[in-house]
């Protein structure tokens, strides 16, 4: 069995060359969307971007959550967590309710708004390449190893080592390890993550668990509600009957 794969992106090592951006476009056969890749944003034709924040460059892409919100909310199960760790989308199932886009804590899924049969688009963690034993296109293209591809265990170890060995260089946090229950894209940065446009302050528990807390209550609500309503039906019916009988007997006495 394949070990779960993932990416480690180190902001301190990124020079903002855009190789990952271009490799991703090539790999997924996506059209050009912006002449200056630094000014581009995620869209149905762009699965990853490099954004400039002063001297720092930050990559944005699907975080491939361990417990993905998109997979949890999709009414038809069009999203699946693959055994490679990638979160994959099946356009044939999709009905286009766009709840995945609403629910994603990282605001990643994009939509083909201009099409009459639109699909949701996002990074696939180069599923086909990984299945064939290759790296993701972006990791392969990266000249500085700012984007590393590997087994999750190894990546976590590398990230922890870097934080420990260079405490002055890094902001002491591995983004993506615990955010929203954790995922398969880890990020290291010299500055707090909200300064690089990442969604900070995400809870550590997985997002689907927030919904499950409510969904769990459905069986008891149905059971208690059903019994309560049936009970009230008999009670109020009996009450009315008694009231009617009393009325009748009262009248009888008068006559």
């Amino acid at each position: 069995m394949l070990k779960e794969k993932g990416l480690l992106f180190d902001v301190t090592m990124c020079v903002g060359c855009g190789s990952c951006y271009k490799a991703c476009k090539e790999q997924n056969k996506l059209p050009q969307t912006n002449k200056d890749f630094l000014k581009d944003h995620l869209s149905e034709n762009t699965y990853t971007v490099v954004e400039q924040y002063g001297d720092n460059y930050a990559r944005k892409l699907c975080m491939h959550c361990d417990e993905p919100s998109c997979a949890s909310v999709c009414p038809v199960g069009a999203f699946k967590k693959s055994d490679t760790g990638a979160v994959l989308y099946d356009g044939d199932k999709c009905i286009g309710c766009r709840y995945c886009m609403q629910a994603c804590p990282h605001k990643v899924p994009r939509y083909e708004w201009e099409k009459t049969q639109p699909r949701v688009r996002k990074c696939t963690l180069c599923h086909d390449r990984v299945k064939a034993g290759k790296l993701t296109a972006c990791a392969e293209a990266c000249p500085t190893e700012a984007t590393l591809f590997g087994n999750m265990d190894d990546l976590i170890a590398v990230a922890k080592k870097r934080l420990k060995e260079n405490p002055g260089k890094y902001y002491q946090h591995i983004y993506g390890l615990e955010e929203a229950g954790g995922g398969h894209v880890l990020i290291l940065s010299p500055v707090p993550f909200e300064q690089l446009g990442y969604t900070a302050k995400l809870p550590k528990e997985s997002m689907p668990s927030l919904t499950m807390k409510a969904m769990e209550k459905i069986p008891p609500v149905v059971a208690v509600g059903g019994v309560f309503l049936t009970g009230m039906y008999w009670l109020t019916k009996r009450k009315n009957e008694i009231a009617r009988e009393e009325k009748k007997s009262n009248k009888g006495i008068k006559v």
Binding site: S72, P208, M215
Partner: protein, 390 residues
């Protein structure tokens, strides 16, 4: 009604025809050009006016289950005359919601997928199923009215046997999906503004739908009185208004509890667009109607009762649209405003829903049990008239 009378133009007829014509064109445009061309939706604002309107429609149709339960489960037969209008409202409301949902789906041709492709963890999946089941319940509850018209007694008898389990199922399905509309947003704590986000969101949604469903019945009674020259049964409406009052007070207390227990009170002093809209929502939908309806004089006065119902409905509209648009605007980083096509398709469906209501009322005995004498149809008058016997 004669043809000449139907064709006689009145203000609202002309307006309706214009709205439907424009709406049909927008519908054509939406299905031939796609969502991008016809809506102002955006990647970070994937849900707009249409989904917001579905929220409104489902809440406003809530009287279908509350009134049915009041009469058939709790045996409060005073409300009997409004059971049929309430069920019809719910049925038409849900049909409107379903149609609008299909217009909103990116792949409307796949609308049947949830029936065969299951994901039981999805709130959306649960809502879809509850709405399908509840609409079936509504059909069963309204079927006797249609059967009565064609004088088919055997199926009515059969339906009567199952009527109580059907009503109970209807209440349960409604409870689930009305609250689940709130559960939809439980998964977005980072995106929905904390003034509205709460783990209690499903409970808030459930409580508010009961009050607004009854207010809608009150509001609708005036529309019916206006359209069909019928009387108003103030006795029933005042009773419903009292239930609205209780519901609003419970909803308000829960909100206070929610704000205190999650420490959100400080948010109320932050000057922002969200705070102002939140205040407006509470003022219009909670404070003013509670103040009005707590007075017996208001509940029994037809003018003030009408305005109270409008306040409750307006406050509810603000609440639902605040949750699904205002509260998400800041995190989306994009200010959404519905496009012309979005508005015109929505208006068209509202007009068609009102027209459908009118049509059903014309051909089926929806108001048959109303006890007001002077505007009754002839045959009913005869059996209920006051006698001058010896």
């Amino acid at each position: 009604m004669k043809l000449s009378e139907i064709l006689k133009p009145t203000f609202w007829k002309v307006v309706s025809v214009i709205i439907v014509t424009v709406g049909l064109y927008s519908t054509y445009f939406r299905f031939t050009r796609g969502l991008g061309a016809s809506t102002n939706l955006y990647d970070t604002v994937p849900w707009g006016l249409w989904i917001g309107f579905d929220f409104l429609g489902v809440g406003l149709a809530a009287a279908g289950f509350t009134i049915a339960a009041t009469v058939h489960i709790f045996h409060m037969h005073k409300f009997e005359p409004i059971v049929r209008p309430a069920i019809l409202t719910a049925f038409i409301g849900y049909s409107l919601v379903a149609t609008l949902l299909i217009v909103d789906l990116g792949r409307p041709e796949n609308f049947w997928h949830p029936l065969v492709m299951w994901n039981i963890h999805s709130v959306m999946f649960e809502i879809t199923w509850c709405i399908i089941c509840y609409t079936t319940v509504l059909v069963l509850e309204f079927a006797p009215v249609v059967l009565e018209k064609f004088n088919l007694k055997a199926p009515i008898k059969l339906l009567k046997k199952f009527s109580i389990p059907v009503v109970i199922a209807g209440v349960l399905f409604s409870t689930l999906h009305q609250s689940s509309f709130g559960s939809l947003y439980l998964i977005v704590p980072g995106r929905l503004h904390p003034l509205w986000y709460s783990p209690l969101l499903p409970v808030h949604f459930y409580i508010s739908c009961i009050g607004v469903g009854l207010s809608m019945i009150i509001f609708e009674s005036y529309l019916i009185a206006r359209a069909f020259n019928r009387g108003l049964n103030m006795n029933i409406l005042s009773g419903a208004a009292f239930a609205v009052l209780i519901d609003l007070i419970i909803g308000f207390l829960l909100k206070v509890f929610d704000f205190i227990s999650t420490g959100k009170l400080a948010l109320l002093t932050v000057p922002s667009k969200e705070t102002y809209l939140f205040y407006l929502e509470i003022l219009i939908g909670t404070f003013i109607p509670i103040f009005l309806l707590s007075q017996k004089k208001v509940r029994e006065d037809r003018k003030w009762l009408y305005f109270s119902a409008i306040f409750v409905i307006a406050g509810f509209m603000l609440n639902r649209l605040n949750v699904c648009t205002t509260g998400l605007e800041r995190s989306a980083g994009y200010t959404y405003f519905p496009s012309f096509d979005e508005v015109s398709i929505t208006l068209m469906l509202v007009v068609l829903a009102m027209f459908a209501f009118r049509l059903v009322v014309k051909f089926f005995p929806v108001f048959e049990e109303e006890p007001i004498l002077h505007s009754k149809q002839n045959n009913v008058l005869e059996t209920k008239q006051i006698i001058l016997s010896e």
